[in-house]
């Protein structure tokens, strides 16, 4: 298929439709409202459902209800909205329902700002709502990857019967890039008869299905949480994705970075290379599950003297990086938030100061 020039938010919307998701519920919030504005035009053509809910809280449960009834469903929002959906995400995770959430991050805390940010890393990767759960989180570094990850999200959500998040930022949502929609990423139909509340008549067994998250018996609750834990262990085995950049040579410094920030780091690495300074980068594409072993291996290469995590926040992924490096190398951090993205020149200066 030929490439088309599309804005990130619109490309994410189209990607969902191409993946086979024609049910979309959302509440407006900058910088991702274009997803809804695109969906409201496209979904009627596909015979799908578009609904603007009264709040992100309600939208979270529209997603839950629809997913529990066996529909393939998505919502998109930005940081403050995702906080409000955190309640529903916790319930959806506990009740084992597949659903896709896209967070086009903006600055926080509080109302924060509307410019790009990566300040929801911890919220996304460590749970976000109450209780013992994780969701699978993918962090695209541009519009093409946002398209691919959005498409893959539905397959992964159905594979693991849980919420999956695409964690972008305002830059990815707002910028235009050439994209193509891979045809092989459409989601295959999965059998939901064992669990979906889509009416007893639809099943051969005629057994009723129940979607719930209440387990008053401590053994039952423990078992449900053990089953969730087993899913996360399987994700760690099967879904970890990352990119390693410029790691063939004897690099002195390893950068860890994700999403939009990693693009600037790549430019800085190329410029440093021209000066004869070798720096590598490890970019997690899945931030949960986190590429733990890959970070350790890259950090502990003999030539590597230090690791620095560069993020558009005040130091979030760096906590995972430190955990994975296990004290074998010093782990530094540089971050900015508020919306200004650190320039390659600034990163070069910081790297040089490290060497």
């Amino acid at each position: 298929m030929a490439k088309v020039l599309m804005k990130g938010n619109e490309a994410i919307a189209e990607a969902a439709i191409r993946a086979g998701c024609i049910n979309y519920f959302a509440y407006p919030i900058t910088p991702q409202s274009e997803v809804a504005e695109y969906m409201v035009k496209r979904l009627p053509e596909e015979g799908g459902v578009f609904l603007q809910g009264e709040s992100e809280v309600a939208v979270g449960y529209m997603i839950f209800g629809a997913a529990a009834a066996g529909a393939r469903v998505m919502t998109t929002s930005s940081s403050p909205g995702i906080s409000l959906m955190g309640e529903a995400i916790s319930y959806i995770a506990a009740a084992n329902c597949p659903a896709v959430f896209v967070n086009i991050m903006r600055g926080g805390p509080g109302l924060g700002g509307i410019l790009p940010s990566q300040a929801d890393y911890l919220q996304a990767t460590k749970g976000g709502g109450h209780g013992d759960y994780h969701i699978l989180v993918m962090a695209p570094d541009g519009v093409q990857e946002a398209v691919e990850m959005t498409m893959q999200a539905f397959t992964l959500a159905e594979k693991y019967r849980g919420p999956v998040m695409v964690l972008g930022d305002g830059l990815i949502g707002q910028m235009m890039e050439p994209v193509e929609f891979p045809e092989n990423l459409a989601t295959k139909a999965s059998n939901k008869d064992d669990w979906a509340t889509n009416g007893m008549d639809t099943r051969k067994s005629k057994k009723r299905n129940l979607v719930k998250s209440l387990f008053l018996d401590p053994t039952e609750l423990n078992n449900n949480n053990l089953a969730l834990k087993a899913k996360y262990a399987q994700m760690k085995q099967e879904e970890i994705r990352f990119e390693i950049y410029n790691a063939d040579g004897d690099y002195k410094v390893l950068i860890t970075s994700f999403g939009t920030m990693s693009r600037v780091c790549r430019t800085a690495i190329d410029l440093l290379k021209e000066e004869g300074i070798e720096v590598a980068m490890l970019r997690p594409k899945t931030v949960f599950p986190f590429p733990e072993q890959a970070v350790y291996d890259a950090a502990t290469k003999e030539s590597c003297k230090a690791v620095i995590s560069i993020e558009m926040n005040m130091g979030q992924m760096v906590e995972d990086v430190e955990r994975c490096v296990k004290g074998q190398r010093p782990v530094e951090f540089y971050g900015e938030c508020g919306g200004d993205i650190p320039s390659p020149e600034k990163i070069i200066k910081i790297i040089k100061a490290l060497i």
Binding site: N23, Y61, I63, G199, R208
Partner: protein, 245 residues
């Protein structure tokens, strides 16, 4: 002669956890009888609230989802929008619907979502142990209103059926009670009508049911019925507030 009285198919064999004298059991049975009579068990999805009726899914024999506190109307919206062929009902108490879930119920009703809400109004939080609800009567004692509800500080009880009937969108809004046998019969008729409107795809339907909570009211079951009749019914007027065009 055939069997004169039997358990509806849409009720399970599970023993309920409800307190002696609680009216949840009556309303559960009425809903189940209506589901049987309309022949919709196989395409019905119920949504349980948070509160005493959270375990309602153990007592009905049809597909069920369990919502977070107050969110059942949003879940019902999600189901009904993607599967308009399913028959969806929410079963909610007054803390759930009239307090934390006020936003969800108003907007679902205003959008004219084609599902049915059964709203149990017993003027108190039951499951959490008798705290004051938005529906608690003036002067009524609750664990968080030990001297009785002070309306200067907490306002007057919210009349949900009246409130929802003010929305311009077409709907069926009624308030019934289950304090006397003839009221029980009327409530069943209202529940049936509510489900019929849904089956016809006509409108949002809402049945408020004045109920009792002997345990948290500190009354015997019989005194509770009497108290509800004398104190609640004059304030919470019974009858249809709105019927679709």
């Amino acid at each position: 002669m055939g069997k004169a009285f039997s358990k509806p198919k849409a009720l399970s064999d599970t023993m309920t956890h409800y307190c002696p004298g609680c009216t949840h059991g009556i309303v559960h049975r009425l809903i189940a009888e209506v589901i049987d009579e309309l022949g919709i068990q196989g395409r019905t999805v119920g949504i349980a609230p948070v509160g005493c009726a959270v375990l309602a899914y153990n007592y009905f024999n049809c597909d069920f989802q369990e919502a977070a506190h107050g969110r059942a109307p949003a879940m019902a919206t999600g189901i009904k929008r993607v599967r308009p062929d399913l028959i969806v009902f929410t079963y909610q108490g007054d803390g759930d619907l009239a307090s934390i879930g006020m936003g969800e119920i108003i907007h679902a009703a205003n959008r004219g979502e084609k599902f049915t809400t059964i709203f149990i109004n017993n003027a108190i939080y039951g499951m959490t142990g008798g705290q004051m609800a938005p529906t608690t009567m003036p002067g009524q004692r609750a664990s968080t209103a030990p001297m009785g509800r002070n309306t200067d500080l907490t306002g007057m009880p919210i009349r949900m059926a009246n409130l929802l009937s003010q929305l311009v969108t077409s709907s069926y809004i009624t308030r019934q009670a289950v304090l006397k046998p003839q009221q029980v019969n009327k409530t069943k008729k209202a529940i049936k009508k509510a489900f019929e409107y849904q089956i016809e795809g006509k409108c949002f339907s809402f049945v408020e049911v004045i109920s009792t909570c002997p345990t948290n009211w500190g009354l015997t079951p019989l005194d509770a019925l009497k108290w509800a009749e004398e104190t609640m019914v004059p304030y919470y007027e019974l009858g249809d507030f709105k019927t679709p065009e």
